[in-house]
Symmetry: C2
Subunit: 354 residues, 2 copies
Amino acid sequence: MPHLPMIALDAMGGDFGPPVVIEAASMAQKESKQTLNFKIFGDSKQIEAELKKFPDLKKHVEIIHTDKVIANDEKPALALRNGRGSSMRLAIDSVKAGEAAAIVSAGNTGALMATSKMVFKCLPGIHRPAIASVFPTKGEDTVMLDLGANLHCDPEILVQFALMGAVYARTVRGIQTPLVGILNVGSESVKGPDNVRTAASILSQVQFPGKFHGFVEGDDIPAGKIHVIVTDGFTGNIALKVAEGVADLVSLTIKDAFKSSLLAKFGGLLSMGALKRAKKKMDPRYYNGGMFLGLGGICVKSHGGMDSYGFSRAILVAADLVEQGYNDKVALELEKLMGQESFVSFDMASHSAS
Amino acid sequence: MPHLPMIALDAMGGDFGPPVVIEAASMAQKESKQTLNFKIFGDSKQIEAELKKFPDLKKHVEIIHTDKVIANDEKPALALRNGRGSSMRLAIDSVKAGEAAAIVSAGNTGALMATSKMVFKCLPGIHRPAIASVFPTKGEDTVMLDLGANLHCDPEILVQFALMGAVYARTVRGIQTPLVGILNVGSESVKGPDNVRTAASILSQVQFPGKFHGFVEGDDIPAGKIHVIVTDGFTGNIALKVAEGVADLVSLTIKDAFKSSLLAKFGGLLSMGALKRAKKKMDPRYYNGGMFLGLGGICVKSHGGMDSYGFSRAILVAADLVEQGYNDKVALELEKLMGQESFVSFDMASHSAS
């Protein structure tokens, strides 16, 4: 492990490639408390051309050239087979080899998950990795997982997600005893499908680095009273996209309202500063960075359409996970969890049933 | 069936009871193209006291007294057993007896669904009723179902929901060939769990009163390009509540912004008219009214916390379903669907598997 945090960047992923990735590295460097170093994988000519614009960044960058890129529409299985030597694969390999502490890519999500799962493997004892992300709320930010890696989740997988989310909230967000909820169609314990009810029953009996709040509903995500929200990847992915879409719809409707009359235009002009601050509070770029939790290496996915500021936020998410030693802490807490009788008994039962 | 549309109202449901229900009936009466008549079930003293405020309404109202009310927290199974003679049950019974054409209640959702299912039964051939509601979007309003009646749905149930939604979009919303999508985690046909992929495969082969668009994602709900969105009740309920919560969060953030400085306050004042129009466009009260589709009687659930305007919208939703003969048209289209070979072969296969 290098002395200074070393982040591997896939320069060729996403809609924009090196121009966004390089500027993002420079922005993250300025924003970060610690000095960041980068290994940047991709077309060296393009990368060097962009680096010229950021002389302060250059001395913290090592370029690893490759012509090979995994296409955004490549099937994950094909990317696995044919991805060797690609910018994404080389960046992941560099983390596996201990030459970097984390990888950030805006490339093909399926390929990134499949490749990092194959190369990093799951942390010992973790059955499935999850995609986690932070959501803006009325209160404190909330982390939700899984956002799409696992369509259906057995109870013990949901319990592991709760643990992974709670360790994130504690170590990276600094919340000593994070409140953890499971997403459901009602808050009463009798509600919902078997897997969430069993997971809730386990979580209410075991000790883990958080407090189990019980079931939460869809509107509890933006309400901001729960620090960690656990769900399966099917529901989580749809909830994430509904949230993005509705935020967009409301903003657009209000923007249109300000254009609807001369008076409204003038009013909008006077309020512009305040409105911009409001917009910033819910800026999807600020919340960019899907963390692949539960793997033996740290991997963060930037949204493919993000600009430099958005990508820089994903880099900082990765840097935080590295700095706080997230993976070591998850491994430790998992060991504690798995030693508890009330977990073991459920674990056995669900294993024998599946 | 009475000559003029007769709507049965459960006056005792919801958070407010008769004061909201009676004023809502008066508002719906004024808004409706046709003259509405009401049978109002509940405490006659309270109902009469409220009716005094609306002399124009009085001649269109018949009061059926009962002291018995199903509590908001009553378990559905208990409500079924003990609900006989309650305002909700009597209102449902009056539809079954042909004395009213639809029932509207703001009471206990589980009890309302369980009771109307028991009394009305499903329409011939329909396996499960669904809760459907209309969502505001950037384009045309979208109807989504199921919003919570069925946690998990087999493919053929999703196909029936598509049909029920399409018939609604055509008959009540006047869209000749509604676009129908199934909610999923990606738009590619290989994505998602078995039940949605099989349902999509059926829908792309059968003829039904709509056009199957394929899979849609969470942000396609507010995008407003699809007229009917089909999903299971677990996902649909969570999507609905995420949408409500996020709309609320964005509105609140903007409201706060206008309070943040004197200049912003002044700007907000100037734009107030335009902002109010924007708010109206997404007013949850306007979109109130969860339709229980697929039952042998028309039942609409008003949100328990709605005011008179909101409840009046739910009454109009019921009146529309009656006026357009929704149930007869669903029955007709279902018969056509079930006669098609490409449906029958799937239907058999899934029946034998379950």
